[in-house]
């Protein structure tokens, strides 16, 4: 029986606490964390090095915001799955993130269960 290779997960958030929390709480066997970045610019560099399949992306960050980063990541790898994890709770922001290429949106604050449900739903499209 062949084992299925895990999908590579990159975490992008300017909060170390949130980065660690996502890393700690994601219980999905199919995901393996390959790195974390604190802003959009770092994320682009890390993306080149690690070629992740799945990304969690904050929106409000210094250097380069998440919306711009989503667009750039999708341009480099259209098949990448991106879950936006942001406190920005207005509908227009979620709609724009999806329009730029994100595949899902999870609003902060979130429970571990909400995070895992959102990632599970995301992976159903993989």
């Amino acid at each position: 029986m062949n084992a299925v290779a895990p999908l590579k997960l990159m975490i992008v958030d300017d909060s170390n606490i949130i980065r660690r929390r996502i890393e700690r709480s994601q219980q999905i066997d199919r995901l393996q964390v390959v790195g974390a970045a604190a802003n959009g610019r770092e994320a682009l560099e890390l993306f080149e090095r690690t070629d992740p399949d799945v990304v969690t992306m904050d929106l409000t960050m210094p250097e380069m915001d998440g919306i711009e980063c989503v667009e750039r990541l999708v341009a480099r790898k259209p098949a990448v799955l991106i879950l936006v994890v942001s406190a920005l709770a207005d509908k227009a922001t979620a709609v724009e993130a999806i329009a730029r290429g994100a595949n899902g949106f999870l609003c902060k604050p979130f429970t571990d269960r909400q995070l895992n449900d959102a990632l599970t739903e995301l992976l159903q499209g993989a």
Partner: protein, 149 residues
Amino acid sequence: MLTDAEIRTFVDGATHYFEVAARQPAAVGSPYLATDGPPAVHEYTGVIGISGRRKGAVCFTAPRSMLMVLLMRMNETDTSEANMRDLIGEVANTISGNARRDFGRDFVISAPSVVAADDGRFVAPAAARPFVIPINWRSHSAKLIVCLE
């Protein structure tokens, strides 16, 4: 000046934050307008600058003891100074960002900046008077300060 409905947005935001992130509700007290100078702050203050259709700042200020317990409730074992500062900024960011549900996307929020209470006072934007929302959680007291033109 904030309307009652706008103040309610921030009260609800603070309530929601503790219910979800800390998995333990906070008692959010009656908001009041700071009339006797700028409100005193605790050891850590996270400040979110607001621009766009509204201008000003949203601040969450809390003592170290509260942040320590909050980190533990999040299963975070790293209680370093850096993580304390990170947390205070993240709380301010989350409550401010959630407010866009009511204020809309023209309520533009900055990345958080964190200040230690060297002078013990919050410096409000010149043209706005700060509303203070008291937050009591477990045995700790904190404040959400909303200051919008």
